[in-house]
């Protein structure tokens, strides 16, 4: 029998308690990497390639070293570091391993690639030093698109990857795919084919990457303070690259100004800086500037889907076939590899629909662009865009309402095992769709839309249904065949003599409120006041190996590990209390209020403080065999295929055919992330995610010129939406408690980003439904709309009203 106080919904869980991280952040007393100043600290800056693809013929740092304030400058040859190599355990036909050197060696592979490192007394001199460096390169042809990558005789980004393909996996191919397509053609159904594309985006945490590394003689250890979502994986990769034992590297993470996935992979710059700090025995700081972040930070999202689907005459999907190409840029990221996007897309593309037959090919190609990393949602915004466009297209062909066709296809019986061999746990796919539609109907948006059409205005309504696998355990990651398999989390909880606890978690907060939400879980589990719980994260020396924060895993996996550790501590407390009260262990339980009571005589009680006092200060009173430590450690890994959050997004937009502008008039989100630990935080995650999804749908894109020059090197060219572009968003919650996690929660970090692009694009197409224009590519810039209208020979409004 577990002595736990039921923590699913309690005094703290389910309440929007004040965030514990707020006071320091609001007073400007947070501590971010760039806030750290150490005596004798030097500053690093990188010499970066201006050429997208070229053979390095010379690096001249003479002038650099002559710059006032410059202390040293290094090339790859000076540092002799091991490369970063991310591997999949797949045959060579499916995966080609490549290496990412810390500094470019013989070759540069994208404009912005680090070639040399300058260290100076202050950041201004370091940049002067960078400016004085001369890198000579013999240009090789730049690969900037799928077409150039696949062209006959195209230059190779990596010699070892023929055809510029890093990953090529064909999956599922169930026996009835072709027959289903034939039957659809013959039997009054329809076959639709849609090519969807999404532009290259930057996750764009407002705080750029950064590191302060120093050699600590006292500990004989490299101390690396840096901005990362995955401190332990950085330590592993860094130790390997430096060829030192892991114990000689300690990674700590202070406050972090966002990450969104960009900081869940290992960057080369931080390793270079750490190596130099070790060489010089001086602290060295590097803070990525915005230009570097835009051109050389990890990017994401550039994908193309060719999707075919067969529907029967009743509007039910009978087969799905897809060809997915993900442009991963110049390097494969560690630890996830270039497989992260195509493998995610291939495995999960059927989404929330009952797809009986399925065949998919997923490829990762390498190009001369900044490398990619996971970004909030990882491929899901893209495959959801593809399948949601398919649904819309089929609805048009069959003359069905877009909501109705979804209703006929969504999974309604759970657990459901899909054609993709994934088992979905219970969710509210149908219910969220119904509620989202009812919301817009009740508010009169359908009348507004139809009335507007009569007056020549273009208002449209769009939906997107999706589920999101969260809480990927090691089983789910192992299916990807990564040689480094993320999944579990370990938590330790320790009580002090006053009955307060410190909890560790291997997850890493960067805005998601872990200090509050994980503490809420513990407080309820043990029956403590929230103020008696303190969370520690982000220190590889103090915290057991953890997998950091990504893939919405913090509350599902991290929170479950925390729950289990609290339960174990609860057992210890009960054991000691029973002894002190002179009763049996079966006769006590946690009372939910900082103590243990005797079940048959609730007047008899031992407070945690009394128990802790005995445990530490009067341990001679402990029962025989009980150790004088109120501390417990537990780990957690999600069993099976993980758990699935779901949502429906409903959007109303107006398209202005005169300017091509899209304005969002209404945004409603109905989501189900299981038990909601902190409603305000979940709403915040939804809204923030949706804002990033809208950014991908309408604004942000990094394109490349034919020679590999990126289009955006500053916020002047990279359009990040502001408060006037992002509308107010309502968030409604349905709660299907999760059976696989200790606290009933499913992940809530990424959903908003996943649903927004398809919902917005569908709404735009609905707005333009009378023009014959149908768009399948994001972002939809005003120019995109105008060009499409021109191509469809739709007169723009001014033109239409101007007598000719």
């Amino acid at each position: 029998m577990t002595p736990r106080f039921d923590g699913r919904k309690g005094r703290w869980v389910g309440a929007s308690v004040p965030r514990r991280e707020d006071p320091r952040l609001l007073r400007g007393r947070g501590r971010f990497v760039d806030d750290i100043q150490l005596p004798g600290m030097l500053h690093a800056a990188f010499v970066r390639s201006t050429v997208a693809h070229g053979a390095i013929t010379g690096i001249d740092l003479t002038a650099t070293l002559a710059v006032d304030g410059v202390v040293a400058a290094y090339t790859a040859a000076d540092l002799e570091l091991g490369d970063i190599v991310a591997l999949l355990d797949r045959p060579l036909e499916e995966f080609v391993p490549t290496a990412m050197p810390i500094l470019a060696k013989e070759k540069v592979r994208f404009a912005g690639e680090p070639v040399a490192l300058v260290v100076a007394r202050d950041p201004y001199s370091a940049e002067d030093g960078v400016e004085a460096a001369v890198v000579s390169c013999e240009p090789l042809g730049a690969i900037v698109s799928e077409e150039t990558a696949f062209a006959h005789g195209a230059p190779l980004v990596h010699e070892e990857a023929p055809g510029n393909v890093l990953v090529d996996v064909s999956m599922f191919d169930t026996s009835g795919v072709d027959a289903a397509f034939e039957a659809a053609r013959a039997g009054g159904g329809c076959v639709v084919e849609v090519v969807t594309r999404s532009g290259r985006q930057n996750a764009l945490p407002l705080e750029t990457r950064g590191v302060v590394a120093s050699w600590d003689d006292h500990d004989d250890q490299l101390l690396v303070r840096m901005c990362t979502q995955v401190p332990h994986q950085v330590r592993t990769a860094m130790a390997r690259s430096l060829r030192v034992p892991e114990r000689t590297v300690r990674v700590t993470v202070p406050d972090m100004g966002g990450g969104f996935g960009q900081k869940c992979v290992v960057g080369r710059e931080e390793i270079a800086v750490a190596a130099v700090a070790r060489l010089l025995h001086r602290p060295v700081k590097w803070i990525e500037d915005r230009r570097e972040a835009l051109t050389a930070g990890f990017l994401a999202r550039e994908q193309r889907y060719r999707t075919r689907a067969a529907f029967d005459s009743g509007g039910r999907i009978t087969a799905l076939e897809a060809d997915v190409v993900c442009d991963m840029g110049a390097y494969s990221c560690y630890p996830f590899t270039a497989g992260i996007e195509p493998l995610m897309a291939s495995a999960e593309m059927p989404s929330v629909y009952q797809v009986p037959e399925y065949r998919v090919r997923g490829r990762a190609i390498t190009t001369n662009k900044a490398p990619t990393a996971p970004y909030r949602g990882v491929s899901r915004p893209q495959y959801v865009l593809a399948i949601e466009r398919v649904m819309e297209r089929a609805a048009r062909e069959l003359g069905l309402d877009p909501v109705e066709i979804r209703r006929r296809n969504v999974i309604t019986r759970f657990p459901y095992t899909g054609v993709n061999a994934i088992t979905y746990d219970p969710g509210t796919y149908r219910e969220s769709l119904d509620l989202a539609e009812a919301t817009l109907r009740d508010e009169g948006w359908y009348e507004i839309r139809d009335g507007a059409a009569a007056r020549g205005r273009h208002i449209g309504i769009g939906y997107c249904c999706f589920s999101e696998r969260t809480g990927y355990g090691s089983g789910a990651f192992a299916q990807r065949k990564m040689t480094v398999v993320p999944g579990f989390d370990i938590s330790e909880i320790r009580m002090d003599t006053t009955g307060s606890v410190v909890v560790t978690s291997g997850t890493m907060n960067h805005g998601q409120s872990h200090e509050t939400t994980l503490a809420q879980i513990v407080a309820d589990r043990l029956g403590l006041h929230l103020d008696q719980v303190k969370l520690r994260q982000g220190d590889t020396e103090r915290i057991a190996y953890g997998w950091g924060t990504f893939a919405s895993r913090s509350v599902t996996i991290g929170g479950s590990a925390v729950s289990r550790a609290a339960d174990r501590l609860g057992e210890q407390l009960c054991a000691i209390a029973a002894h002190l009260l002179g009763t049996g262990q079966d006769n006590v339980r946690l009372d939910g209020d900082g103590g243990v009571v005797q079940v048959d005589d609730p007047a008899r009680r031992a407070s945690f403080e009394e128990i802790a006092d005995v445990a530490y200060l009067r341990s001679h009173l402990l029962p025989k065999g009980v150790e004088p430590a109120l501390s417990a450690t537990a780990s957690f890994d999600v069993p099976g295929d993980g758990t699935f959050s779901n949502a429906t997004h409903a959007v109303v937009v107006e398209a202005d055919p005169g300017t091509g502008q899209i304005r969002i008039l209404r945004y409603a989100c109905v989501e189900d992330c299981g038990v909601v630990i902190h409603p305000q935080v979940v709403d915040g995650q939804c809204r923030g995610g949706i804002a990033q999804g809208i950014a991908g749908a309408l604004f942000e894109e990094i394109t490349y010129a034919g020679n590999g020059d990126p289009s955006a090197a500053s916020f002047i060219d990279y359009l990040v939406p502001t408060a006037t572009e992002i509308p107010d968003i309502t968030v409604a919650h349905l709660e299907t408690p999760c059976a696989f996690t200790e606290n009933g929660a499913k992940g809530a970090g990424e959903g908003g980003t996943i649903g927004a692009p398809a919902a917005v694009l569908n709404a735009i197409n609905d707005a333009l439904r009378h023009t014959g224009v149908e768009l399948d590519t994001t972002p939809v810039h005003p120019q995109t709309v105008l060009t499409a209208l021109d191509a469809a020979s739709v007169p723009r409004r001014e033109e239409a009203s101007t007598p000719s």
Binding site: P18, F32, P205, M256, R290, G684, F715, T724, I726, I729
Partner: protein, 174 residues
């Protein structure tokens, strides 16, 4: 660039000396010379607003101003908000409305809003939205920031009527 100037800056009501190159930004001087790290660096080219401080009451991007230009001005940073470790009404409203997640943009938004509300104490929600569109936040989707600033404007208006406003109204700008 060895040419250096000894300047005196008035920050949060105290005078600070700094020896700076003419090219050194106010942002770097505040953060790295004076140790006022509450003001953040997000882009160094005047777009994100993470570095917003008040210079003579006006929100200004500290990354676009050289420190030598700020002599003789009154500068206020996020560290000046609130008293005795207590949050100011605006800071409290950000917390109440979950107007911050990672908190990196927050000092910039606080100073932007503080400067804006001093000039437009009666601002409505749409006007506030327009004003805060000067700064970028990557986490919140802005709605809760608008909520926080609107709530502060409303409570200050009520307090002003009752004569208990915590923030003095600015003399009318010509």
């Amino acid at each position: 660039m060895t040419d250096r100037h000894l300047i005196v800056l008035n920050v949060n009501g105290s005078e600070h000396e700094a020896l700076v190159e003419p090219r050194r930004t106010l942002l770097d001087v505040l953060r790295h010379d004076l140790g006022l790290t509450g003001t953040h660096t997000g882009c160094e080219h005047g777009v994100c607003g993470a570095c917003t401080v008040l210079v003579d009451g006006e929100p200004v991007r500290a990354c676009l101003m050289f420190a030598v230009q700020a002599e003789a001005a009154e500068i206020r940073t996020v560290e000046s908000l609130g008293r005795d470790g207590e949050l100011s009404d605006l800071q409290q409203a950000f917390s109440d409305h979950h107007g911050l997640q990672c908190g990196f943009c927050t000092p910039g938004f606080l100073m932007l809003a503080e400067g804006f509300l001093a000039q437009r104490p009666d601002a409505g929600r749409e006007e506030i939205r327009e004003a805060i569109s000067a700064n970028l936040c990557r986490c919140t989707g802005y709605q809760t920031i608008v909520d926080a600033v609107s709530a502060t404007a409303a409570s200050r208006c009520r307090a002003r009527e009752a004569g208990t406003c915590p923030v003095p109204e600015k003399e009318a700008t010509p």
